[in-house]
Symmetry: C2
Subunit: 492 residues, 2 copies
C-alpha cells in the first residue's frame, strides 16, 4: 500500500536553457572529460575541485554579456545577506583559491579542473545556461613559454578528443595589440576608457556572427538587431573604426607575413611592440615543437569575450561543418579558449600574479559530435538475463554476475512483464544477447543464449537461403555450467 | 604593461560550509567516482546528466531538515518569476526526467548519475553544503528483487571503493513496518498524520546521535538541544513512544530472530505483514547470492531521513573508526543509502511508478579515508625538466614530451626563478626525478637525471657507509638521445 498522492500535481519540465544528457551523449561527455583530464594530468597538472557557489564579489564581473540580469550570473543572498553566485567559469574560483591559500601552494601552481559552469543568459537555440568545462591553468608563470604550452595543450586536447588534423585550429592573438591600437586612436587610460575598451572587445568577439559591417556599427554609435533591440556602441570615430577593423583583418597566410603586417600598426606603442614580440616568441616555440603544421595560427581577429585577459589569448576552433537545431549546416565555432590573465589574482592580493590557462568546453563539443553522427556507442548494451520465474531470481543474479566477472556488462530483467516485453526491452537497450532459462531449461539444467544482433540480421537482411543456412544460428543452448562460453561463442 | 588594478579589493574567502579539494583528495574523489560508476555501468545502468538547477516545484519538499531557511535548498526566482532551486539530491531530478520523457524510455529504466548536490544547512563542523553523489536507480521495477539488487550494488560499490570485509555493513529496513506501528498506535492517515509520521522518521534518524533518551523526547513533546534551541516533537503518547522505540530495538543477531521479533509487532496490520514479507524475500536473495556474510543486515533502527521512501530502505555504514575535525576518534556513519520510492514519479503522473535506488556519498567518504591516512598518492608527481636557459625552452618541451610519450607524467618548470627554486619546486610536487640540461650538458649534448627519492634517502636516512657506497648514485648523466632510458634507470 503506497501513501496517498497529494492532489497538487506539478508539471514535469526541464528548466529553460538547460539540458538532459542520457546514454550515448552522457558517455561521450564523460569520455571527452577523461581525454582532456588525461592530457592535463600527464603534463603535471593536479586536480582541484571548488564549490559551484562563490561569494559574488570574489567572482568579479568579467562576463561579456553583463547587460543581462544579474550581469550574466545566477545570484542570490545567503542567510547572512552576502551575495552568492554560481560560478560562470572555473578561472575566477581558481583566482579566489590561489589568493586564499597563496603561501603553501607550489609556485608555479599547475591545476586542472572539471565541472559545470552557469551563465544566466536569455535561453535560445544553441545557448546553454549550464555547460561543462575542463580547464588547465599555470599560476606564477610569467613567460611566453607558458602561453605556448597552453596552446600546445589545447591542440593535444583536440587530438585526444578524436579530431583529425585539419579539423581544428588554435587561433592565437594578444590583447596588448588591441590595447596599442586603442591607445593610438586616443581611447584614454581611465575608467571610461576601460568601458570603451570592453565594448570594443565585445564588438570584435562578434565578427564571426555579425560580419565587418555589424561590428563597425558596434564600434561606432551602436547597432539595432533583427528583433529591434539596440546595443550601444563603443563610440569610436570613423578613423578609429577603420583602424580597429583593419587590425582584425591583418592576418596573412604565413606567420612572418602576419607579424610583418601587425608591426607597423602598433606605431610607437611600447605595449604594442611587446605584444608583437610575445607573439613572435610563442610562434617560434610552436614551430620548434612542430605545432605549426596547421594546428596553430596567429589570427588578430581573435580577442575572446571575457574581461580579465591581459596578454596572449587563444581559441580552439572546429573546422568541421556541423548542423544546427533545424538540421541546417552551421559553423560550430569555438570549442574552447584561454589566455593570460596577470591581474585576476591581483584583485585580491594587490600585486600581479602571472597566470595563463586553457578551457575546453565539453558540452557543446559533445553535442556537435553527436549532431555529426560521430559518436559511436561508447558502451555496448548489457547482456540481459530474462526473469521468467519469479522464484528463481537468485539464479538469474548468479548468471549475470558470472558474465560480469568475465568483463561483460550484464543485468537481470527487473520489470514486472512477460517474455515478449522482456525481449523488446533487451532490443531497446541494444543488448547483444539475452540469456533464457525457462521451466524447460531449468529442468534440463541448461541455458539458451539468443544473439540479438545476429537475430536482427537473420530476420531483416538475409534473403539468400544459402547464407541463412551457412550462418550460425541466432540461438543456441547448452549446459548451465557453460553459460559464459555459450555467450562468448554467440557474440564472436 | 598590465592594466590598472582597481582599488576595490575583495577578500578571497571560500563560502562557509563549502570545501576546496586539491591534489590527493580530488584524485581520491575521482577514483571513488570511477569505481562506483564502473560498478553501475557493468550492471547495465546508463549515465544521465541533468542540470544542477530545477524548478522548485519539480524537486518537491522531501528534505529531512525543512525547518531550515528555504526548507533546506538554495533557491531563487528566475527572470520569469518561477522559483528555481539547486538540486538537493539526484533522485528528485530523475523523477522529473522520467515523468517528462516517460514513453520513449526503456522500462525498466536503469540509470546512474554523478554530480554535486546542495543542502542549505547551517554551516558547521562535518556539515557540507555541497557534496558529490553517485547514484544508481531502477525505475519500473516492482519486486523485492530490485531492492535486493540495489543492496548488493551498495556492497559492490563499498568493495570497489577499497573497503575490506568487516569495514562496512549495509543495513536494511522497510518503511512499511513503521507505518504499521504508527497505524497501530493511532496516528491517523490524514495530512496531520503525515506531518506526525515525518516527525517520527526524523526523530528515529537521529538515534545514532542523540541516543534513545533524546529520540524519546523528539517522539513526545520535543527536545531542547545544548544551544537551547527547541525542536517540536511528534506528540506521541507514552505508550506510542515505547512502541516505536521498542520497534527500532528489535534487531537481533540472526535474520530469523530479527524477522521473528518484528512479526508480532505488526499486529493485524496488512501493510506491516507485507513489509515483513518483503524483508524476508530480500534477505533470502541476499543469502542465495552470498551477501549474508556480514556485508548486509536487517536493522529496524534504519529509517533514512528523506520523505519520499515508501518501502525498503537501506544505509551503507562504515564500521572503521575515523577522526573528526579535532583529530578525535569518531564514528563515520553513513556513506550512502537508498530505498524504494514508488510515489515520487506519481507526483507528476498521478499513478505510482515503482522505483528503487542507491546513492553513494563520495565527498564524506573520501574525506574519511583521507583522515584515516588511507589515501596513497593516487598519481605520482611529474618528472620535472628544469628550465635553466630561457632560449632553450623548445628543447625542454621536447624532453618532457618524450617522457610523456613513454607514459610518464612530465612537465617543464614554468616559473621565473633560478635552479635552487626549481629544485625546491620539484620536491614540493613530489617529483620522482628532475632532468637537468645546463650550459655544460648542452655543450656535451648530454643530460643529467637526478633521482629525488633516492636523493632524499641518501641525505636523510642512510648512515651506513657501506650501504651508501653500494647504492646507486642519486644523479647520473648520459647522452641526450638516451634521456628516456636514463630516467627509467634512475627510477627503478
Amino acid at each position: 500500500m503506497s501513501k496517498k498522492v497529494k492532489t497538487f500535481r506539478p508539471k514535469a519540465r526541464r528548466p529553460k536553457g538547460f539540458e538532459d544528457r542520457f546514454g550515448t551523449l552522457a558517455n561521450a561527455e564523460n569520455a571527452l572529460i577523461g581525454a582532456a583530464a588525461g592530457v592535463y594530468a600527464s603534463h603535471g597538472f593536479e586536480p582541484l575541485s571548488t564549490s559551484a557557489l562563490e561569494y559574488a564579489d570574489c567572482l568579479g564581473k568579467f562576463l561579456p554579456d553583463d547587460d543581462r540580469p544579474n550581469e550574466g550570473v545566477f545570484a542570490f543572498t545567503d542567510d547572512d545577506q552576502q551575495w552568492m553566485a554560481l560560478r560562470y567559469d572555473l578561472t575566477a574560483p581558481l583566482a579566489r583559491f590561489v589568493a586564499e591559500n597563496y603561501d603553501p601552494l607550489p609556485k608555479p601552481l599547475r591545476r586542472f579542473a572539471v565541472g559545470p559552469v552557469w551563465r544566466n543568459e536569455k535561453p535560445g537555440p544553441g545557448r546553454f545556461r549550464e555547460f561543462i568545462q575542463v580547464d588547465a591553468d599555470t599560476i606564477g608563470a610569467p613567460g611566453p613559454a607558458a602561453d605556448a604550452e597552453m596552446i600546445m595543450l589545447a591542440a593535444d586536447v583536440m587530438d585526444a578528443a578524436g579530431l583529425a588534423r585539419g579539423e581544428y585550429v588554435i587561433r592565437v592573438n594578444n590583447r596588448k595589440l588591441l590595447d596599442a591600437i586603442l591607445g593610438n586612436i586616443g581611447v584614454p587610460d581611465t575608467e571610461e576608457g576601460a568601458v570603451q575598451r570592453l565594448r570594443v572587445l565585445r564588438a570584435i568577439d562578434k565578427l564571426d556572427r555579425l560580419g565587418a559591417d555589424g561590428v563597425a556599427r558596434l564600434l561606432g554609435d551602436g547597432r539595432k538587431d533583427d528583433s529591434g533591440d539596440f546595443t550601444k556602441g563603443a563610440g569610436l570615430s570613423a578613423q578609429g573604426i577603420v583602424a580597429v577593423l583593419g587590425y582584425t583583418q591583418a592576418g596573412a597566410d604565413t606567420l612572418e607575413a602576419t607579424l610583418g603586417a601587425l608591426q607597423p600598426l602598433m606605431g610607437a606603442s611600447t605595449v604594442g611592440a611587446q605584444g608583437v614580440e610575445e607573439l613572435r616568441a610563442i610562434a617560434a616555440l610552436l614551430q620548434a615543437c612542430g605545432y605549426d603544421d596547421g594546428r596553430t595560427l596567429i589570427d588578430p581577429s581573435i580577442v575572446r569575450g571575457l574581461g580579465y585577459y591581459t596578454g596572449p589569448v587563444f581559441e580552439a576552433d572546429l573546422r568541421i561543418e556541423t548542423v544546427n537545431e533545424k538540421g541546417e549546416p552551421a559553423r560550430f565555432g569555438s570549442a574552447g579558449g584561454g589566455g593570460r590573465y596577470d591581474d585576476l589574482i591581483a584583485r585580491f592580493r594587490g600585486q600581479p600574479v602571472p597566470a595563463t590557462g586553457f578551457s575546453f568546453g565539453v558540452s557543446r563539443f559533445a553535442a556537435a559530435l553527436h549532431a555529426l553522427g560521430r559518436l559511436g556507442p561508447v558502451e555496448p548494451g548489457p547482456v540481459v538475463v530474462l526473469a521468467l520465474e519469479v522464484d528463481r531470481m537468485a539464479d538469474y543474479f548468479a548468471m549475470a554476475s558470472e558474465l560480469r566477472a568475465a568483463g561483460m556488462r550484464s543485468e537481470v530483467y527487473m520489470g514486472g512483464s512477460g517474455m515478449k516485453a522482456q525481449m523488446k526491452y533487451a532490443d531497446k537497450r541494444g543488448a547483444p544477447a539475452v540469456v533464457i532459462v525457462g521451466e524447460d531449461e531449468r529442468a534440463a539444467n541448461s541455458v539458451t543464449v539468443k544473439n540479438l544482433v545476429l537475430g536482427d540480421k537473420l530476420s531483416g537482411q538475409i534473403e539468400d537461403n544459402k547464407e541463412w543456412r551457412s550462418g550460425r544460428p541466432a540461438q543456441t543452448s547448452g549446459p548451465r555450467e557453460q553459460l559464459l562460453k555459450l555467450v562468448q561463442d554467440a557474440l564472436i
